[in-house]
Subunit: 309 residues, 2 copies
């Protein structure tokens, strides 16, 4: 089934305890689309400025499943740029700078050829913009959004409207606590379901993720690894694997009827976990660029063996 | 197979965000033995003062599988007492007071009738005392120790000697980091294996546990629950379920040969996780006192369903 993502494309500068990378390709839409493309074709709606380096464009093209029709290059505008520095334990980070560039302008339009998209992922951006995207996709059958503390603090009423329009929400644990005022992760998840979504995926970084769904609860540890170079984009590729897998499951007309069911989301979360475990192994999209399907399948099997009860 | 534990029996005063309990039964040996007794008979080696309340003694007797032959009541001595206050997120706690009492005296002796014990758990105490215990148990076939930051900071050389004598170590993540200087949990685990043990279980509280074993790695989430009243004793009951299950597996002479294998420890960890999830539901041993085997079996099945890939 057709999968679409709206998100950012950015130029990242990242410092981690093991090294740093200056002016590399990043952004939520980029990471999501690259990860999802291992599962299914994915339509990317995003915009960049005319300063966007041709080498980054060819990196995007390298992921053959990523449809770039919806990538808008704006004359006279600047590409979004972000700099961050991770804490020694890699679980937190400080933003060093944010140059919004095109993100401060009108959001990108959804091309007419994308209006029949069925699986929709709204990567993290202002919830008002996310609502605008949803409204351009009348045939959507499963819509999942990401959000962050900034919008919970500054645009909560828009976010609450958005939550009535989506099937699923993906967010970090501290954001779930901020949104609900509840410290217990299960309790926070249940509270979010009362706000609208059918399910919520609460990400805990190296501690894995919790799925709270109207039909049940599932817990997944992260893939235990020593190869931790750069966590940037892990959450977005996690979502990419999740939605890519859901869209693939949705190819079967029978399975499509239950897309978004507890079992389908749980199955998809394993793919999200696996693909995120590769992202962390290098800066930018360096690991994903060289990733092969057999490597994904092997790690899936390893992970299943590590967590089986 | 015969299981023995050496640990503390204490009188706890606990403050959590949901309430408090004053002068209730606690201690690492108490929690461990109560939990293990759901799986197998367990020999408890510990001492208390003559101030130890008769009602606490009858609570201990309530767990029929706990053999109290090794419980020494010392005339003129005082029972160990501890007070603690948990942080709002329940993941950390501050010690309010520690009255060592009998813990400052000579450690309890292992009764002659216990010397044939095969499965040994050394609950958290000075590593020098743990070494003394091990030396009184010549027929041990699987020995696992717990430790804490205090001993890593103040008795590291004794601890390193102990680590050469045990098959397994159980400790919290921050303690593993302190012991190894490594922030990555897998890396810390591997480093501990170089210090002697065949396996290490790194506990992460609500984030579950990681098993790093010479034969492989396994990750387990905690049982996701909203019913969080008091985390005191969770780590000890986790170890009790782990060792109780290992000792039960060891009843079969064939299985006994592989006690401590990767698969046996992983299987046992699920029992530790399940029984710890009950401990947290009430203060002191209040939940364990009323716990039944069918409840354990049901939660085991629920947990397996929540984490299956």
């Amino acid at each position: 089934m057709s999968l679409i993502v709206t998100g950012t494309i950015g130029i990242d500068t990242v410092y981690t305890p093991t090294g740093h990378a200056s002016k590399v390709l990043g952004g939520s839409g980029t990471y999501f689309a690259a990860a999802a493309s291992f599962y299914t074709p994915v339509r990317l709606v995003a915009c960049v400025g005319d300063d966007f380096p041709p080498t980054f464009m060819s990196t995007l093209s390298h992921f053959r499943g990523v449809d770039l029709t919806g990538l808008e290059v704006r004359k006279g505008s600047k590409t979004f740029a972000w700099g961050g520095k991770y804490h020694p334990d890699m679980n937190g980070r400080d933003t060093l700078f944010t140059e919004l560039g095109v993100l401060a302008e009108a959001p990108p339009k959804v091309p007419g050829s994308y209006r029949d998209s069925r699986f929709v992922f709204l990567a993290n951006t202002h919830p008002g913009v996310q609502i605008g995207m949803v409204e351009q996709l009348p045939q959507r059958s499963l819509t999942v959004a990401d959000t962050m503390d900034l919008w919970i603090n500054t645009a909560k009423s828009d976010l609450l409207v958005l939550l009535r329009k989506v099937d699923g929400l993906v967010l970090n644990f501290d954001e779930a606590e901020l949104l609900t005022g509840r410290k217990n992760v299960v309790s926070a998840g249940r509270h979010i379901l009362e706000m609208g979504p059918k399910f919520v995926v609460i990400k805990k970084g190296e501690h894995g993720a919790l799925l709270v769904h109207r039909e049940g609860i599932a817990a997944l540890p992260a893939y235990p690894t020593e190869q931790v170079i750069d966590p940037t984009g892990c959450g977005d590729t996690f979502a990419g694997g999740l939605m890519g897998s859901l869209a693939t499951q949705g190819k079967d007309p029978e399975a499509a009827k239950t897309a978004g069911s507890f079992d389908s989301v749980r199955r998809a979360l394993v793919h999200g976990t696996v693909i995120a475990s590769f992202t962390i192994e290098a800066f930018s999209l360096d690991r994903l660029k060289n990733l092969t399907r057999p490597e994904i399948d092997k790690r899936y099997a390893d992970y299943a063996a590590m967590v089986r009860v």
